[in-house]
């Protein structure tokens, strides 16, 4: 859910539309921050899933060890037949132990785009002295001058007003369209490296040997 709070010294979202208007930076930043938080929630959920289903936690040390599953592996190799002295195909059956995480088609679902669409009527422009901010970051060079801040009111949709012929009514309505699109994004490099390490460390055990031991 996206909560937009209007800036400009007023407390409620509605009161921001009055007076000097809404700070444009807050209006654009609000949906972006909400999308970023939603993204973090999705990633945390996936991380929890990976830890709870693909790893088991050591109750004493708290370390997570991968859950291993055995998989059957058959390979054919050419050997020399001692009787006929001819090459023959010998099939060996092995068991490989593989971390379950390498079997899961992991992907990351993340927010790929956020479109914030609104028409704004600028009602106020303030200039704040930016030299005050230098006390927070002493290493940065002091910027001299004034930073303009824009305040405005979200205007009605002019196209809609024409079609409906209700311009006067629409003057009191504000529209902010936020389209958030989520899609599968590539796995993080750290996760890829972990999976590569696991898949490269798979070594077959001879089934006959392992059953004897």
């Amino acid at each position: 859910m996206i909560n937009l709070k209007a800036a400009g010294g007023s407390s409620g979202p509605e009161s921001g539309f009055k007076g000097k208007g809404i700070d444009i930076a807050s209006l654009i930043g609000g949906p972006l921050i909400a999308a970023s938080e939603a993204n973090a929630m999705m990633l945390n959920k996936q991380a929890d899933f990976i830890l709870s289903t693909c790893f088991k936690e050591d109750p004493i040390t708290g370390n997570h060890a991968p859950i291993i599953v055995p998989i059957s592996f058959k390979r054919s190799i050419l050997i020399r037949d001692e009787e006929t002295d001819q090459p023959k195909l010998d099939t060996g059956e092995y068991t490989i132990e593989i971390p379950i995480i390498t079997l899961i088609p992991l992907n990351t679902l993340g927010v790929s785009s956020v479109d914030v669409d609104f028409e704004m009527e600028i009602v106020n422009q303030y200039e704040s002295n930016s030299t005050n901010s230098s006390q927070h970051s002493s290493s940065r060079p002091k910027s001299v001058g004034k930073t303009p801040k824009l305040y405005g009111k979200i205007s009605y949709d002019s196209k809609e007003a024409e079609s409906l012929k209700q311009a006067n009514r629409n003057m009191n309505r504000q529209k902010l369209k936020v389209n958030i699109h989520a899609q599968e994004i590539p796995l993080p490099d750290g996760m890829k490296t972990l999976l590569q390490l696991y898949t490269k460390s798979i070594i077959p055990n001879d089934k006959s040997n392992s059953s004897n031991s």
Binding site: F73, I96, I100, L103, I104, P105, T199, I202, I203
Partner: protein, 66 residues
């Protein structure tokens, strides 16, 4: 959605890879290495564990997409 996974061929003499679909793997299908024709399949004892994990993963995907 692409569910194809890739692992390095466990055959030490082979540098190929084995591509497999875990959903078909739990149904008993086997997959072979494109280089040395080695074959992998899921052991009977692993089926339940892998199936359970894939089901939980599908649930998670459904939750995040809704």
């Amino acid at each position: 959605m692409n569910t194809i996974q890739t692992i390095q061929c466990p055959n030490a003499e082979c540098h190929g890879t084995i591509q497999f679909d875990p959903y078909l793997l739990i149904q008993g299908k086997s997959f072979s290495c494109s280089t040395c024709n080695s074959v992998i399949s899921l052991n009977q004892e692993s089926k339940e564990v892998v199936k359970d994990t894939l089901e939980k993963f599908d649930e998670l995907k459904a939750q995040t997409k809704s």
